[in-house]
Amino acid sequence: MDKITVQGQTPPSNSNPAARAFRNPYIRYILFGVVIALLPLLAKSGVMPSSFLVNLGGVLIYSIVALGLNLLLGYSGLISLGTAGFMGLGAYISGYLSGTVGLPFLLTVLIAIAAAAVIGVLVGFVSLRVAGIYLAIATLCVSEILRKTFEELDQFTGGFSGLTAGYPTLFGFKLSREATFVLLTAALVLVMMLTHNLVNGQMGRALHAMRGSEVAAQAMGVYLLKYRLIVFAIASAYAALGGALYMHFIKFSYPAVWILTLSLNILAVVVIGGLRSIYGTVIGALIVFAVPDLLLKRIPVIGGIDGIAYIFTGVLIILVVMFYPSGVVGIGHDIKRLISRGRKGGAGNG
């Protein structure tokens, strides 16, 4: 994974065309997606247990959701503990519309995204009045209201017993688990590219300015309300997209999934992976949502501890905040620097 931690635009040099192409961020995103999309083959050929695919698919979904939170927390300096609610909203809307109503999968995803974006805009209005811990509480409340709604509207959501859905149908083809995994990958790569474009342009700079100093941002002509509404709408839309994909990949949703714990885990993804880092967010999702299930639970003794995942995530957050405030992507940069320093030192001695 080390090659993908290289981020941002590196200065151009006169190396061969392949290296130059690799430096193009879009080509890197696509290559990254192709590599991930090949994982089902590994599972098919038996190199990797096929149950891993469900976990890794979850990682892709949570990466999409966490990219939205990274826009809020990393770029704009706005906190949200409401992620789970918006994810659940996307899951139920897409699940109900595709299952009971029978709308096409893609249309249900679009409706889910639009609905979440509208509610996100409302939260954006709140964010202009309250900040910091109060914003965290306000977003948590929105999420809890949504969860309560999922419980109560049981003719749509199935209440406590939950809602089921099948793998998505695209253009008349019913997708298999492996094909759905590829679809998740495509969605993630698309979201990564959109996010890349947004954060590296005028809007990204406005979000940076807003986080840095509201006063300076306003003096530079940044209309705070507009950008708060937009960034909350985008983050909610990403969460709803993730939720809709979850519904059609995990195939099951019940209210107890969309709780504070999930929002906190997604917050952990952003903090551990790296604030303001797109690849870091994916690495963070891998660490928080895959490592405990795929690795820790297989270790004797430690794997038997109840709630090992929470302990692992908690300890990691503390370590990252203390030693790598910019997230684990910072470790990659440090290793690269060490290697290049080692090379220089070796050359000097020899």
Binding site: P11, L194, N197, L198, G201, Q202, M203, R205, A206, H208, A209, R211, G212, S213, V215, A216, A217, Q218, A219, M220, G221, V222, Y223, L224, I230, R276
Partner: protein, 274 residues
């Protein structure tokens, strides 16, 4: 954008800013009281006063960070319109061509110098968020043009070689230059510099004086300087307005201000009657 109530203000030829009867009070404290002065096109104008004189308050009233209780701030915008700024939203001020720097430099540490400078062009981007997300031709073209413009602004400040370095960790003097380069991105008509010499040593201050003159001459803009450093003010200002305790003391050339009894008293205290 300006509402109908803000148009129709009058401004004499050759003036860019006319402050009339500006007053604001916080609780019982009259921070600025009936302040009037005007600034001519392409002059370097100094606003001076002892600590707590209300310089910063006055200038926050001009840029609409504070909305004054009374008075007018008539401004000739970069498109030639004449309007009263009072009551306009803060974020609408810069697109009229009125841009400011900050006393304690406001740059974003995580961004490169050129990205910091590009923030100054924020209101001149026309591409929508959707065009930016999909990198459609207009968004790409704008970004390219603005980047070239930002490079020119950094070259003007003599720090173009640092354009891709992150702002965090740069020396204070460089960050000050980044802030000034940022003002040049806004097609400025009037640049307000808030204590630009604070924290600079003698040679840096001399360089700053030269830079401010060049900004005025090459970008054909007006400079309003709010400053503590008397040598800088006396050296570069065409005219100076002195205030004390929120009230107007005197306005004139550096020589006139230096010789003014009221100004001397405000800075040095009254002479004891014998």
């Amino acid at each position: 954008m300006a509402k109908a109530t803000h148009s129709g203000a009058a401004l004499a030829d050759g003036l860019v800013l006319d402050i009339h009867d500006l007053s604001i009070q916080f609780g019982g404290l009259k921070a600025v009281e009936a302040l009037s002065f005007h600034v001519k096109e392409q002059e370097i104008f100094g606003l001076i006063g002892p600590n707590g004189a209300g310089k910063t308050t006055a200038f926050n009233c001009i840029t609409q960070f504070y909305h004054p209780d009374r008075g007018q701030v008539v401004f000739r915008a970069r498109d030639g319109r004449v309007l009263d700024l009072v009551g306009l939203p803060v974020h609408d001020i810069i697109r009229l061509g009125l841009v400011r720097t900050f006393q304690n430099v406001e740059v974003i540490k995580e961004l490169t110098l050129i990205d910091n400078v590009l923030i100054g062009a924020h209101t001149d981007f026309k591409a929508t968020i959707l065009e930016q997300a999909l990198r459609l031709p207009r968004a790409r073209r704008e970004e390219r043009e603005m980047r070239a413009k930002a490079v020119r602004a950094l070259e003007f400040m003599g720090i173009a070689h640092l354009k891709d370095a992150p702002a965090g960790g740069q020396p204070y003097g460089v960050l000050k230059k980044v802030e000034m380069a940022r003002t040049l991105m806004a097609q400025p008509k009037l640049i307000i510099l808030d204590e630009p010499a604070a924290g600079l040593n003698d040679s840096e201050t001399a360089e700053l004086a030269e830079t401010i003159r060049r900004m005025r001459d090459e970008y054909r803009c007006t400079i309003l300087l709010v400053e503590h450093d008397m040598r800088l003010v006396m050296n570069i200002c065409d005219r100076i307005c002195a205030i004390s305790f929120g009230q107007f003391l005197a306005c004139g050339t550096p020589g006139e201000i230096q010789g003014n009894k009221l100004v001397q008293e405000a800075y040095l205290g009254e002479e004891e009657p014998e």
